[in-house]
Subunit: 340 residues, 2 copies
């Protein structure tokens, strides 16, 4: 592709490059007649200002970086989509970082910020990818940043998330209302705050209902389908089996349902299954999955808004944002029956 610089436009329009620059980014400063000449030259040549020249001068990239552990995950994909849309609306481009929990990739993305390639960061992992010392205030050591879904416990960091504790509690309470007492949990990775909080919510709901926690009913998972399958296989081998299971993610719930079916059990008659997230496929599988719905679109938009506000130099005073979740009752849960 031909490369045209501001100088080319300047010479075509018989003005200085300063005037070309003004016409494009501050047109009010330029007379109508001059503006017309410049725009004509821009039009004819298809000129787009080189971003590096501008960025080097302004020290702004116009990019935001999104760092996630796995973008194929339906939850993350839904959030990215909203971020992308909102970013585009505000004139930012989105750099995408899928870390796969690989430290070398986390470092690589962090460098994008230190090298100026992105102005700010939307972080969906629970670990700050910067070396932080507590000798200096945090905001001096990190770039403009919004942390979401996996909350970093630091009052200075902007966070956006649902209340995972309450969400989990609502899920388990619903099972209790249905008459279930033997309620298993297929958990997410306990290194993540989200899984930890959901576990606490599970325990709180049981405790509120004076149901003793059966340690055999608590199985570790990693939010992905496969561990849902494996966890359910373990539960089915138990002498005393649960009558309902709360899965910390829809993917694991889908895995659990596959395992149940594999072994010939009916859902929800033989076991009620409740998920977490409300991904698109939750409403499309059979039976349709009862779950806790996360407002993915809202999460994405809110993250981008908070980041943009920081980048514009208007950091809001409120740092923590809690978005509403919703219990969505579908067909994978039913009332407890003696026979089950």
């Amino acid at each position: 592709m031909a490369k045209i610089s501001i100088k080319d436009i300047a010479s075509i329009a018989s003005v200085s490059s300063a005037t070309v620059s003004r016409t494009l980014s501050n047109p009010d400063l330029v007379s109508e007649e001059t503006k017309r000449r410049v725009l004509k030259a821009v039009e004819e040549t298809g000129y787009t200002p080189n971003r590096f020249g501008a960025s080097l001068r302004t020290q702004k990239s116009g990019n935001v970086l999104v760092v996630m552990p796995d973008i194929t995950n339906q939850v993350n994909a839904g959030i990215i989509k909203a971020i992308e849309k909102e970013a585009h609306k505000k004139g930012y481009s989105v750099l995408l970082g899928d870390t796969q929990n690989d430290p070398s990739r986390e470092k690589h993305y962090a460098d994008l910020l230190t090298s100026g390639q992105a102005d700010g960061m939307l972080l969906f992992t629970p670990k700050l990818p910067f070396n932080v010392s507590n000798k200096k205030p945090l905001y001096e050591q990190i770039p403009p940043l919004v942390n979401s879904c996996e909350m970093i416990a630091h009052e200075e960091i902007y966070t956006v998330s649902i209340n995972n504790f309450e969400g989990a509690k609502a899920a388990v309470n619903y099972l209790i209302e249905l008459g279930h007492k033997k309620i298993a949990a297929i958990m997410g990775p306990l290194e993540t705050p989200s899984a930890l909080n959901r576990f606490d919510g599970y325990k709180a709901a049981l405790s509120d209902a004076a149901i003793e926690l059966n340690p055999q009913f608590v199985i570790k998972g990693d939010y992905l389908v496969d561990t849902g399958i494996q966890a359910m296989e373990k539960l089915l081998k138990l002498k005393e089996r649960p009558t309902a299971v709360f899965c910390f993610s829809d993917d694991m719930a889908i895995g659990a349902m596959n395992a149940l079916r594999e072994y010939g059990y009916d859902i929800p008659q033989d076991m009620s299954v409740i998920g977490f997230d409300d991904i698109t496929y939750a409403a499309l599988i059979h039976p349709k999955l009862t779950t806790i719905s996360q407002p993915l679109e809202q999460i994405g938009v809110q993250c981008m808004k908070l980041l943009a506000a920081q980048l514009n130099g208007n950091p809001p005073a409120q740092k923590a944002y809690e978005l509403p979740f919703k219990l969505v009752v579908r067909q994978s849960t039913c009332a407890f029956k003696e026979s089950s």
Copy 2:
């Protein structure tokens, strides 16, 4: 975050900025002793070279742009993931562009290339977002580019895809082998080459088997779940109903299956359903979906390799790459029975 420039490192290490630059990008040119001093300063300060300075000078951004109509789509998400991984391996960062088929966003992303923010483009839509005249050779008018999945018919453009015609034919042939003769098609958007080719494959398979195409069996869709539902509702209202349906995407197949279930039909006894794509959830729904599998990982890797080759100045002579698809037989299809 503190900003440290090459000059700071130079002064700390008592060398010129040229030497700092060499140490970082061409260490063989620097003596051991000098190198050590420079690296020490880099280490201590956490210096990362400002990319804009470098990019402005080298006229390279180190970014590649991925343009897709919808990143939440499981097919696209799977491809992105592979691209991201391969790009990272080769030292590129990925800029993500979700167009939502919005021309203003397509333009926005195209500008990223003209403005130098990305060195090359991975294009998953069937429309070149650049003004191209046929007075000049194409390669002078577009940036380094690889087109995938939705093929632009131009012999000069690098393309990566499965053979959609043959894939569709294989799907329909399988239904024919099972004894089906009344085979419906729920199609993708016919503006896309992929849907067009799959439609041709459908017609070819029928024709090869001397089955006349019933126009009532051919329903338009857009690859998404909802049109799968609607299309199946139309098919179920037909006086003479099909006994099998070929859906041009798994998402539409999932929609179609939901509609079938809604109306009390058994899958596959009452109707066989075959999809296309083999997204993760195809193997997780009930009954598990028979489908044509696309090698998403391979597609992503191949795209990125071809783009990198162009960017390195080694454009391969071969322009069109056809990757293998696979018929995956699961439980949503069965042999035709008179009764059905």
